[in-house]
Amino acid sequence: MVAAFFTDVMLQPLGIYVLALGAGFLVPLFDRAHRGSAMLVFMGSLAGMVAIAALNLYAIINGAAVIDIETAGIAPPFAINLRFGLFEGGVVLAVNIAALLGAWHYLPSLKQHASALLLYLILVMGINGMVMTRDLFNLFIFIEITSIATYALIGMERTGTVLAAGFKYIIATSVATAFFLLGTIFIYYQVGTLNIDDIISHGALIHGPIGLIATLFVLTSLLIELKPYPANGWGLDVYETANSGIASLISVGVSAGVFFALFKLLPLMDAYLDSIAVVAGATFLLSNIIGLKQHNAKRLLGYSSIGQMGLLTLALVLLEQLDAGAQIALVVGGLFVNHLLAKAGLFWLAGIVDRTNIKDWASIARRPELLILLGLMFAALIGLPPFPGFWAKWELVMLLGSADQYGWILLVLLGSLLEAAYLFRWFSHARKRDDELTEHVCSFWQPAPVAIAAALLVAIGFGMAGTMDLDVPAMFLPLLAGFGLWLIDGLPARVKQLAMLLAVAAGGYWLTQELTGINQLFSYLLVAGGLLISIATIYRNDVRNGFYPLLAVLLLSLAALLRASTTLEFFFSWELMTLSSYLLITLARAGIKPALAYLLFSLGSAYFIFAGFAAAFASTGSILLADLGNVSSPGLVFSLLAAGFVIKMGGFGVHIWLPDAYAEADDDFTAMLSAVVSKAGIFGLVIIAAQLGIRSDIGLDPAYVLGWIGILTATFGALMAVFQEDIKRLVAYSSMGQLGYIVTGVALMSHLGWVSALYLTVNHFLFKGILFLSIAGIVLRTNERLMYKMGGLIKNMPVTFVFTMIAIIAMSGVPPLTGFGGKWMLFNALMEKGWYWIAALAFFSSAVAFLYMFRLLQTVFLGQRKLEHAKLREAPAILLVPQVVMIAAIMAISAYPKLLLDPLSAAINPWIANTLVWDGFALQTHYGYWNAPLIMAIVGGVWMVPLIILLLVSLTMKIQKVEQFNIVYAAERPHRPEDTHFAYNFFAHYDRAIGFLVRPRATAFWNAVIEWSHTLGSSLRVFYNGNGQTYALFILMYFVAMVLFNGGLGS
């Protein structure tokens, strides 16, 4: 009997209600007897709900029939019925899990009142009811049950602010539900039934003005419950003030219930899909814009929450419009679960940290576990891999693309970018170590619910990956390696370094072993090169928490990027690379702020790529990278993708993130960023150029524009590098300039152009690696980055000087080293193409490059050495080792460029016919010829002969080696090295002549963009004046507007 009851009732979905109500009555009883046992009953019942939902869902997934529960055994429409199908089960399970974890988090406040426990249970039950019921009026009742429970929970507080917010909430929702009731009764009036299925099947009966008003009332009340812009101030106030436990449940639970109700009723709303989409889209975008202005942590989460609900609604409606019902589970479900767990987790975190202003979140800067949780939640919310949001957004954007809904794509991506902006700004605040703030204290178990939510997110994301068209082991290898290394992060630095190197070597080899062609070339550069440079990280012996795991993730994601065969894999690895490099930059002392700019521009770049892939998918219906070439609108796809890659490479105008990020990152990591990570953009550019750029029907125009962008980047990068005082900023700008040449080379779309681009790429890797590693050594020894505070270091660091000099000659393009070959081929290719103006600018910028190159050598190594630098030692050997390898490579390629050019040419040959003509050792083009070995020999000869002569002459002289102050000083003597070292504002005269060209206009522009968006945010939020009456008025006007917008009463 008992057993039968157990299996028939308790294990059925109805058991949820039984549990909730039963426990609800038992809890006060037990509470009287023993507080602890009441808790046990409470938590047990919630766990029971989760278990019931899980068991039934499991059964349904395994093929069991959809469970329909009919009250009193009477079939609808004569009685209320509940349904527990696949979707219902999923939502119920998710909500109950959130409720269980939320209860865990909320327990300390909850247990003060036994009635609060009861209310909590009823609230959860109400949500379950909203999801499962198939009766319209019953839906109303569950909404009201939920609402009353919520009101009561809010009303338990005694703070005036919370109560005031609660009152506004009550007023607003009760108005909305009054309208819902009106709508319901009108529908009943026309259809004569309240069963949703019947209503839908008799949808035709709803007609005329009454029918319109009825459906619109129902629809609008549900939308209002989802808090659309601008009629949502009441919701924000509750999010801001209420206890994080309640806020999270309102944000994810109640909203989920209402959202599911909307989903159920959507077949009735066919006529209004457009208005719903507009409302949802506006809510998503505008909430995220307003969020930019917000500094209150929980209110900010409120904006995010509202925005996410807008996105969910938008996705639902758009899929409905596109008849893509099959993807609803993936897209809406993914977004839903993502939002549910991440937002709830964030509200809980906000409760744990308990700092109102996000600027005060620096109190958790020394709590890595909280920081990691915060970061994971943010990444999930924005839709970074591997979280469910990533897959959902991917699918959504692909679908939108295939339906040519580019406006919606723009909106979704822009909204996500804005959301990323304020969320990661928050993260930056939390990362910022501020000694004045008291450190946050919380028990070990307090963040446990958040951690479980995070784990669930990762698990679901991983699970979703399995359903996608993806090479899961390869794509998740970087994360796996990172996780593994993170587990051993407590070990000594040397062990971690070794483990990281081994992991990257093994993983990189496994990922890239089968590559061919251009991918193989880049795998040497990115994986082997990255490994080479990461050897240099051994020079630091400190703990560097998180550095090695993230570095492994970065390098392996680069390898995975090369291996990607579909756009999805490419984008997945790309985002992973972005995220890991962002985090690596934040690890540096002053890297947090620049890292934010880096992340935002990188995400902007990623979204361009995303949109490009969507456009390609729309055209070909395939996500294979190899099919990119078949698109019907190559110009658009090419432009979108190229824009993305150029942003990533710091192209002219969108470069402002670059100098700061490079300058503030850890010194060895800067080398990685410049020499290796920037190559990912080139790789992408080459790939799309190969697939799209060379097609004849693309027209010259996008490529020509790209060529100009490249050369302007080169020119302005060089010009700006000239005026830098900070050594790393100088080289960062230089890096930007050098990448500009490569962009131009790729844009040429000719064999020679590509060979020169790839040659320059290899060269850039070599000399920038050397330069940044040298700089790492210098900064390590001098502890300075400003060049005018150095000087004369050639005496202490002769090896570093020689390496730097060779790197600089290789960069400058002076024969006989590698730079010349690149410049020569580029120039020839430009002339062949007839891009004369670009050629002239290339020439000019390479002349300007001399200025900063000389400045670097002069002010750091030459000139007067400071007194405090007298005892400096040479850079550590481990920093020099990779440099030696790279110097050897430069020398080998200089003397015998065929070594490099043959493989490059071979990699390009499948795309463009080979045009390299070899005459012996000489490379010939239409215009000229270049005999590198001979040049090397001649230069060596003409260099050696005077040297020998000078040595011989020296024998006849008494040469005295003198010290730094033994200079002719207008018959006076120098007094301090600082006075005598000409270094500060080195090119003041140049600034006077053409400095007006390099005033930071791009920075001013982007600052203005920030300013505008903040101003926009503050003008958009004027509606939230805090007055409950105004909010009620907005709700009323919302109804009126919806009715008028959809034809009013006249139709």
Partner: protein, 210 residues
Amino acid sequence: MIKSLSTEDTLENSGLSAEEQQLFCNARPKAYEPYPIKAVEDFANWARANSLWILAFGTGCGAIELRPLMTARFDANRFGVAGRPTPRQSSVFVIGGYASVKTLKRIIRSYEQMQGPKFVICLGICPVNGGMYFDSYNTINQFDLYLPVDLYITGCMPRPEVLVAGIMELQKKIKQGRCDGANRYVENFDWYKANQKKVIKNWDMPDYNW
């Protein structure tokens, strides 16, 4: 490649603080021998004589007499005379008349920065015996106490013609190989230094300004 002097040949540089001492070379100057082959030495002397680069450092009132040398009227360029703005490249130092103690310090510094063989011409009577400044508290009376002099051109002031004549005389002397002032300076270095330090009281420079 670069021969450095052995450490025992170092100077004390007591005028400098310990911190400054590491910024200045403390080697003692060394004399140079003539080339072992006579013909080479003669040829070298001929070249030196015909390429006299005067340090552009006007040390006294006589500096005004150097200017006309380069004009159309006197055109010392004919004799290979040219001005150089840096002591490193100059070979002739023309002391333009009186030398105050303050200037003497600069003269010594510049002279030591010139590379040998180097020659000094004293212009006017003041470097010889003080001239009209014989009783001045601030003007030296005998220049050759402080630096070796190769040629005196007396008068107050000698006109540029005399200067041209003096330059030709110097050329003659150089060709004969008799202008070894730089070596004399090195050989009697301690004596010269003592004389210099006797008058220059704030010796805040190394003992030899390389």
